[in-house]
């Protein structure tokens, strides 16, 4: 946490502001760098292959953490991200089976449209009904899970191998997965964050009353945030299909994925109270959470203890982060 301390010491006002805003992301990146170096020192010939494995196997969860971040920044929480991932996974696996590369891309695009629409619908229901986000998304998580069972009754389905290689890369080619991850960040999130609509998401999360009084349309903002989140869930599902080469409608997958997404955003510096954080921090947090069990394996510890360490790390980070934020708000 000394990184945060060093980064928050004001140098000049502008630099100080920049540093303060990105202190948490910087700390997570530094933490990731330490973990990566540690893991690299354990593995002989650590290189492109290990990086490719990491990027490919965390792609789905990285998308999902981004999906959760958008909603939480907007002042909500989405318990249905995992279920929507499973639904997208089943949709793509069922309809991609036996198709060629072109067909797979077409199916993926259709699936993204569906999940974005479902996300928008969730946002609409939350805004109109005024039921807390957590309840609505709890209910929709059952609905999406059921729908996934409709689409694919038992684990199965398939996809085109070319599509898999294009999304995840193979062997030493680590950049396809990274490009897929950067795609929505640069093409959708970067412009959105600078637009009125994006600023409205942050405003709504910081204080819904103040945002409303300043002329932010809560309904439209909520719908945009949830639609983008739905799109990212669709991407996560598609990435899962590409990674596993099939679909699986089990509700435990949805549950674990949702819980992991919440852990990742918290570690990645998104405040659960809303309005604070970004999408890059959570992605690095996902990679950190992936590296922890690997490092433990390298140390000769049962990797099942990885879950324990993950839990402790997340709780401690929130504890220390909360103390730091409280101190900063007292002194400044």
């Amino acid at each position: 946490m000394s990184v945060v301390e060093a980064a928050t010491r004001p140098l000049s006002p502008a630099v100080g502001l920049f540093a303060r805003r990105h202190a948490w992301t910087g700390a997570v990146v530094a933490f990731f760098a330490v973990l990566l170096a540690w893991n690299a020192s354990q593995t002989r010939n650590f290189g492109a292959f290990e990086i490719q494995t990491m990027l490919a196997s965390t792609l789905a969860l990285a998308y999902l953490a981004m999906a959760q971040s958008v909603v939480v920044i907007g002042g909500g929480i989405d318990l249905s991200v995992g279920a929507l991932l499973v639904l997208a996974n089943c949709l793509t696996a069922r309809f991609m089976e036996g198709t060629g590369f072109g067909g797979s891309v077409l199916v993926a695009a259709g699936c993204l449209a569906v999940t974005a629409l479902l996300g928008a619908l969730t946002g609409l229901v939350i805004s109109v009904s005024r039921i807390p986000d957590i309840i609505v998304t709890l209910a929709t998580s059952f609905v999406w899970g059921g729908a996934a069972l409709f689409v694919l009754r038992t684990p199965g389905g398939g996809t085109s191998p070319t599509f898999q290689t294009l999304v995840l890369g193979s062997g030493n080619a680590w950049w396809p997965a990274l490009l897929c991850l950067l795609g929505p960040l640069l093409l959708v999130w970067a412009p959105l964050r600078r637009s009125r609509r994006g600023i409205a998401i942050y405003a709504l999360g910081s204080s819904s009353d103040a945002a409303f009084l300043s002329g932010v349309d809560p309904l439209r903002t909520k719908v945009v945030a949830y639609a983008f989140s739905g799109l990212l869930c669709g991407l996560a599902g598609t990435a899962t299909t590409a990674f596993t080469g099939g679909g699986s409608p089990q509700s435990t997958i949805a549950m674990t994925a949702t819980l992991n997404s919440v852990a990742a955003i918290v570690l990645g510096g998104v405040a659960l109270s809303g309005g604070i954080g970004g999408l890059v921090g959570p992605v690095f947090a996902v990679w950190c959470l992936y590296l922890i069990p690997n490092i433990m394996l390298g140390l000769g510890v049962d990797p099942s203890y990885g879950e324990v360490v993950k839990g402790v790390v997340v709780v401690l980070v929130v504890l220390v982060g909360g103390l730091l934020r409280a101190r900063r708000s007292r002194t400044g």
Binding site: I77, V125, S129, R130, I131, P132, I134, I135, V136, L138, A139, T140, S141, F142, V143, G145, G146, A147, A148, L149, F150, R153, S251, T252, M255, L259, V262, A263, V266, L272, D302, S304, Y305, G306, E307, V308, V309, K310, G311, V312, V314, V315, V318, L319, G322
Partner: protein
């Protein structure tokens, strides 16, 4: 009262409930209406639903869910949530199963002790160190998953067969349609209803959930209330876990996992606000019964799992919406 509600729709509720209905408590009325409609529908679909053995089955399923949802209700009333109830229940059942060679009573006590220990850690972290409840209990759930995964192969290995007393408590029958776990539930549930209404701690739980800052300024030791809430919640989850373990006969890591979301759902359907300060255990009981009867109905109709989950979600949503409209117009 609970059997009365399940048995026939022309229920004769206890005075407290009657008074609340007379006072126009619309959400309680709506819940009883939904429950009655479901029971009648079940009866029409299959006459045997109203038989005693089917009633016993329904109650057998409801008791652990209602206990776990009771703990969840406490947390939600104080303005928090506990996402570790399922793993706490599994951990308690595991320990009880492993210790069953030491004698049934020791085994059960060991299981409950595990629950209390987990709850204390949760409560102290949330109350004293101000960790967000969602994150703390999520982290605890992960920690327990890891420990149990490793433990099931090492220090918790060996016999996971429940002792006879636990088997009897979890799945045995006293007489007619009344299973033993109903007795456990009635005792703890009754204590919960009375405790929330009549004791100082009960009122403090509502007060903390309603306005934490005001409570602190009024001299309430908020951290003590929160520690008590999460400890009680984990204890109830442990009891539920032991009952579930007793019903299934042996334990595994997925024992109580499917109870987590329903435990939140039952409290929500029962009208407890996730924002704290509003609701109570009577509503949660109705919520748990509605979920159990609904489940039976969908089984009777041989609806497949897919449609079942979709319906389940829709019902939570519709009831939450009705409830939100009710409080908004009041």
């Amino acid at each position: 009262m609970r059997e009365a509600v399940v048995r026939d729709d022309a229920a004769t509720p206890e005075p407290g409930l009657l008074a609340r209905i007379a006072a126009g408590d619309r959400s309680t009325l709506a819940l009883i209406g939904v429950l009655a409609a479901l029971v009648v529908a079940d009866g029409l679909i299959d006459r045997s639903f109203l038989s005693l053995s089917q009633l016993r089955n329904t109650l057998l399923v409801t008791a652990p869910l209602a206990l776990m949802a009771g703990g969840q209700t406490l947390c939600m009333l104080s303005g928090g949530i506990d996402l570790s109830v399922a793993m706490t229940a599994t951990a308690a059942a595991y320990v009880t199963g492993v210790q069953s060679s030491e004698g049934a009573v020791t085994a059960i006590l060991a299981g409950l002790l595990v629950g209390v220990a987990i709850g204390l850690v949760n409560g102290l972290a949330i109350g004293v160190f101000r960790v967000n409840p969602l994150i703390m209990t999520l982290g605890m759930s992960g920690i327990l998953t890891g420990l149990l995964t490793v433990g099931s192969q090492t220090f918790l290995g060996g016999a996971t067969r429940m002792s006879d007393l636990v088997l009897e408590l979890g799945g045995g029958t006293i007489a007619g349609p009344i299973p033993w776990n109903l007795v456990v539930w009635l005792l703890l549930g009754g204590a919960l209803v009375v405790g929330l209404r009549r004791t100082g701690l009960g009122r403090l739980i509502y007060a903390v959930g309603d306005n934490r800052v005001a409570c602190r300024l009024a001299g309430v030791r908020v951290w003590q209330v929160e520690t008590a809430v999460y400890t009680l919640c984990a204890l109830l989850a442990a009891v539920a876990g032991i009952l579930i373990g007793g019903r299934s006969g042996s334990v595994d890591l997925q024992l109580a996992g499917s109870y987590l979301l329903p435990s939140v759902a039952a409290a929500v359907i029962g009208g407890t606000s996730i924002l704290g300060g509003i609701g109570g255990y009577t509503g949660t009981i109705l919520g748990a019964l509605i979920l159990a009867v609904l489940d039976t109905m969908l089984n009777l109709l041989t609806v497949d799992e897919a449609l079942k989950q979709v319906l389940y979600g829709c019902i939570i949503l519709v009831l939450a919406w009705v409830y939100a409209r009710g409080t908004a117009s009041a």
